[in-house]
Amino acid sequence: MIESIRGRSLLSLDELSKGAIVEVLDTAESFVEVNRRSIKKVPALKGRVVASLFFEESTRTRLSFETAAKRLSADVLSLAVASSSVKKGESLRDTIATIDALGIDAVVMRHRSSGAALQVSRYVPHVRVINGGDGQHQHPTQGLLDAFTIRQILSERQATTGLESGAELFEGLRILIVGDIRHSRVARSDVAAYTTLGAEVRVCAPGTLLPDGVATWPVTVAHDFDEALAWADVVGLLRLQSERGSGAFVASLDEFTFTHGLTVERARLLKPEALIMHPGPMNRGVEIDSRVVDSSQAIVERQVSNGVPIRMAVLYLSVAGSREGQGL
């Protein structure tokens, strides 16, 4: 168990303690404030170099990480790997060695292969590696920002602050994750974050989209979607990963919507105060109806805007932080 990500790489939420997660959330609170200023920049990582290495296409995660790094005054090396030497058959080790030779403190990376971030962290042990999504394995900052968003909204409702509430609001909180759990790195990171923080998690999916060995996960499998919706305090939907071949795992998108889509009718089963989340990009009309996205229960935009402070917190703790720990 990692007790703090200060001075360390962030590869997976599976290995973080509750304290380590709360530390990131708490750190992000102060960066929310920075993002509200007219001049949204602090000198915390001045002179540090953060490379952004996306082997797989991404819009929001990449933009969010690069914005976060710039607001911390880091120099950002942005490499569009998908269109560079990797296409020419360069190995993962050589690509990272080349970037490392330019002199970097951290690398934010996304890769279509599970485990790629861990491999890179072994190739360049002196560089902090921030996993921006590896295959079907983990997407740690998404899990952190999802937890952060839930805490933020629930604490607002209780007229308190996220900082004061710590992890208390998660004790016994009922969270339902629906959809393509099998192919989703977001699901794996969300499950780790939520259960570590004390929430009760259920997952619901067509049998073919449940991961192998789900019985060993710290979650319950809900077979009745409607019943689970009525149970939940928070519903997290997932993108149906048709680019990972999920299409063949269900009869059709229509049928998926029929069995597991959050339609307007199904949304009525939710408690009025229940929250609806989606990591994006959404397939409107497939896993979620457009009208549900636009309802007041949906907090998708909050998730997006919290992406920057969470990634600032992760970069700050990982890159500026020494393992002994130091204040803001």
Partner: protein, 436 residues
Amino acid sequence: MSTIVIRQGLVVGEHTSGVADVLIVDGRVADVAAVIDAPSDAHEVDARDCWVGPGFVDLHTHLREPGRESAETIESGARAGALGGYCALVAMPNTEPALDSVALVSFVLERGARTPLDIAVAGAITIGRRGESLAPLAEMAALGVRLFTDDGIGVQDPSMMRRALTYAKPLGVRLAQHCEDERLAAGGTMNEGSLSGSLGLIGRPALAEELMVQRDIELVRLTGSPLHFLHLSTRRSLEMVLRARDEGLPVSFEVAPHHFTLDESACSSYDPVFKVHPPLRSPGDVEALRQSLCDGVIDAVATDHAPHAPELKDLAFDEAPAGMLGLEHAASLTFEALGASADPGVFFAVLSRGPARIAQLRREDGRVRHSAHGGAMAVGDDANVTVFDPGCHWSVDRTTLASRSMNTPYDGRPMVGRVRATIAKGRLVVDEGLLT
């Protein structure tokens, strides 16, 4: 040819063992006796506390030549084999191009003849190993090929496999199958289970192997044609084949050292050095294989030595090719798995006599191209002899291997037991653990 005398080792015969000297003259075992008065120019091999038995035979070596010489050549693979105690290697046909014709088989046999070992060839069952049309098995058999396989992939189409078995039977050859139903394996990269689920890696289910094992047992029952099962990796595969063998069906099988020493948990590192097909299995499967080895019911330990150039193992786990090195540590791992009370008879049975029988490399198989292997350590045998030191402690260093590649999953691992000397076709090719 030189004269060699192996002093005071435990000479492991087919049924009995005893401490003795072994004299080798002109490529043959000239004498086995308590004390031999050897000529003064004889090369002395000190085998005190060592096991002396028939040289090892590997049924499953990927020598990569032709086509992937950056990973291995017949020459470098033979050196690695000699260090591992092997006197004969069966070269797998998944080269580029595949060994599916007289010309290609002849090329490998000729290159092999330049090495000190016997290099036998397993020909492809189908043209290009594509599983679509029969390769010229009879022509290749006429060159001395006795094993045929599309290894790397199994023959997926049951009707093709049935036809191949039926065609092979009167030729006196044996087919060998890499059992994995590729549709069920679904492009997976590690054993399917809760670990693959949490690592986000696509699983290759045990069932993909077991279904093809079951299918092929039934095809053997139907055709009466002998079949060798390559690298069985699960408890149930083993049970099915053992049952079929007990029923009298002409089946044989091998297991690979990595499948009885490493389990799927190694994949948690995402280090592609642990990627292999069939994949590293559950701890229960590993233990079942190890136990069967100790029980003496396994026909052969085969390496599935699969060199890959370093840059290919520096890719992401799902992008890297499958396979790991085996020749230089297979005997040590087999010895270790046999445990403290290791039976030297079983040791030489699985590493030499069993595989020699399956590859038809024994004296009674009447081979002309190769010398005889898997003998009884009797006077008159061709001198293919391995001296194994069960007390030697060493550790694997991937940078000093004779193989051209470094993809051993055992780098830095302490080992017990090591090949001290290899005498292949009467020549001392490894002495004191080093190539001569």
